[in-house]
Symmetry: C4
Subunit: 225 residues, 4 copies
Amino acid sequence: MTAVDDVRSTVLRLRAELCALHAELVRYGLVVWTAGNVSARVPGHDLLVIKPSGVDYDALTPDAMVVCDLDGRVVDGLHAPSSDTEAQAYVYRHRPDVGGVVHTHSPYAVAWAARGEAIPCVTTMCADEFGGDIPVGPFAIIGDDSIGRGIVDTLASSRSPAVLMQNHGVFAVGATAKAAVKAAVMCEDVARSVHLARQLGEPIPIEQRHVDALFDRYQNVYGQR
Amino acid sequence: MTAVDDVRSTVLRLRAELCALHAELVRYGLVVWTAGNVSARVPGHDLLVIKPSGVDYDALTPDAMVVCDLDGRVVDGLHAPSSDTEAQAYVYRHRPDVGGVVHTHSPYAVAWAARGEAIPCVTTMCADEFGGDIPVGPFAIIGDDSIGRGIVDTLASSRSPAVLMQNHGVFAVGATAKAAVKAAVMCEDVARSVHLARQLGEPIPIEQRHVDALFDRYQNVYGQR
Amino acid sequence: MTAVDDVRSTVLRLRAELCALHAELVRYGLVVWTAGNVSARVPGHDLLVIKPSGVDYDALTPDAMVVCDLDGRVVDGLHAPSSDTEAQAYVYRHRPDVGGVVHTHSPYAVAWAARGEAIPCVTTMCADEFGGDIPVGPFAIIGDDSIGRGIVDTLASSRSPAVLMQNHGVFAVGATAKAAVKAAVMCEDVARSVHLARQLGEPIPIEQRHVDALFDRYQNVYGQR
Amino acid sequence: MTAVDDVRSTVLRLRAELCALHAELVRYGLVVWTAGNVSARVPGHDLLVIKPSGVDYDALTPDAMVVCDLDGRVVDGLHAPSSDTEAQAYVYRHRPDVGGVVHTHSPYAVAWAARGEAIPCVTTMCADEFGGDIPVGPFAIIGDDSIGRGIVDTLASSRSPAVLMQNHGVFAVGATAKAAVKAAVMCEDVARSVHLARQLGEPIPIEQRHVDALFDRYQNVYGQR
């Protein structure tokens, strides 16, 4: 098999994977209408695959996904790519460990983002997946590097795979697109639980050493090896 | 094809489209039981197509939709039309750019409407779709032009395609019925996010120039061209 | 056809109807696990048909429904009837206009009931269906006439087809079982909207003459004649 | 049939039952992604059957379930067992009456748990199923007996089949796995109703004698005998 065949079959696989993962955003209520998107890096190539802009979730097929280079230029695809492509390309350029990026406007997370407030780590689920608070990034407007830079800079000082961009929504990253979707799902779940907890009083903080122990176990022991 | 054939085939297409769009209201949880409705203008004719009054969403078929003139009188149909037909006919008469109207009692939007309070533009999604606050119209009672006039007058001083009628619910408009449904879906999503944000503090305002930039990009660049 | 055939075929029809209506309680999220129930009067007979006690909603079939007399004694059925049978039998004995009764613990309605607070009529949907506030009945315990009496006495001074029994849940009545289910669905929808409205301020009252006009129109004009 | 055949067929039945019960956790919105689990004791044997760790709910099959001894060691299974196995094994060792255990991070219950606050018994549903307040157990970290001990010790002084572990989530027990799932479902429902009630004022307490009467009737009369 040639290198060209290899990238072709990888892209084919990623198109199908992304199609299934977009359905998870719908299932978990993280998106409405055409908002939100998932992308994946093509491993070993300066390429990403991403949702087309403004296309209904029901109409998404593997073929509809768009392949771009890491400057956000379309390389292969029938549609214009997501308007978040530049932000996500920035993340892939500056975070070689990231293989997938998700963007949502999930409602409880947006509520924290609209106040510019980090989600405090007061549940074991938050410690497990995020290793501390879920941080807030700056207000940044589409059209240049500012969203991508806001994501990368904010995540640099955190163990969290998710960031709340102020007044905007969630960007979540992972080693794979599936891991990024998992982080986006759990981000909304934590945003909701902590919102509800705060409505009727003050949640009890979790000591840092317990947060560390929970994060370590969940990252290294949980699941199938 | 004669002009008569043309209007017939257009009405046939709109009946089917409306049937599918009513299912979106159910899917997004914007309606319960028989409440709410979608209508469409028959382009180039003084006609509209609308949901029948008080019919179960499960029982809606293309045939069940009712064709009325722009005074709300039934022209073709087996059922009595929605009791909101007069209000929507008023909108079509006074807003030639409008091709579709939606009415819902979606819960978070109704909460703002019951307080007579506009939804402040504190999320990028609100700036994108509504170009500012989602405004509140007057209390108006069914039976004359007051609901239609309230919708048209309120929207006249706003870029928003949706208005919260006081103590009542949402009316959303669009170039097509699908665009109006999109506005109704996003109105509830924004109503919910901002409600949640406000419950635990004050959301950060978005500067007017950023609202303008977001609205401009979303209206003119987002999606497929 | 004899009178006996007649009651048999009516019961057969009601068993099937109730089976479908119980699925609506699930669909609208008004019940969890085996809680809640719908019953129907057998018109012209001192009989009612009701859900069996503690049976899974998924396992409900027309055959599983139980026929009782209006003292709550089983006349025909393979299962023990709902533990709310006595309360509902009381309603049928004292309200000859009632053909169906529904009981749920729907969450927003229960929240009002737990505070012993009537839901104020601040939305047009509430005026349409309930003609005013949704009233609260007394705390009453299962085992004698007190729940049934609480329902009937509270509804006597109201146009509402639904009552919130204190610390307990919703009882809704209608000319048919379907109308009672509709009232239960709209009761939860109103309970939720007004709850949300109240969380961030005070809803605007609707003037009594407007409540009257809305109720009159909805009861007499809305829907298909 | 030999004793070995007997345990084999019991395990086979429990694998299938657990598979179906995990789907109930998803249906009722008690879990997201791979979080949460249900286990069952193998009656008459020092064995339990439990969900594998970190496996998608959609991918769960009877075969995927893991059989462990009551020290949490795998006896039969293709996967690593849930990381809650030790906690649940502790419960089975110390509560011979328990045949099933469920763990969830259901959102409203987690909100109470994050504040370390018991859910007060202010609804008849809570009295029916929990016989009083739903208690809070200590903060306990995975890796030794502390979660299991916290569950058992907290439930010892309560009639409730569910406990909120501080900052963590729900553990519910029952005579069977299905009864434990029921308790987990009702725990979230009660957690939500009482949360909503408290948001707008103070719920009315239920007198202890009424709580006792409701609990007694629900445990001994409700349902099919």
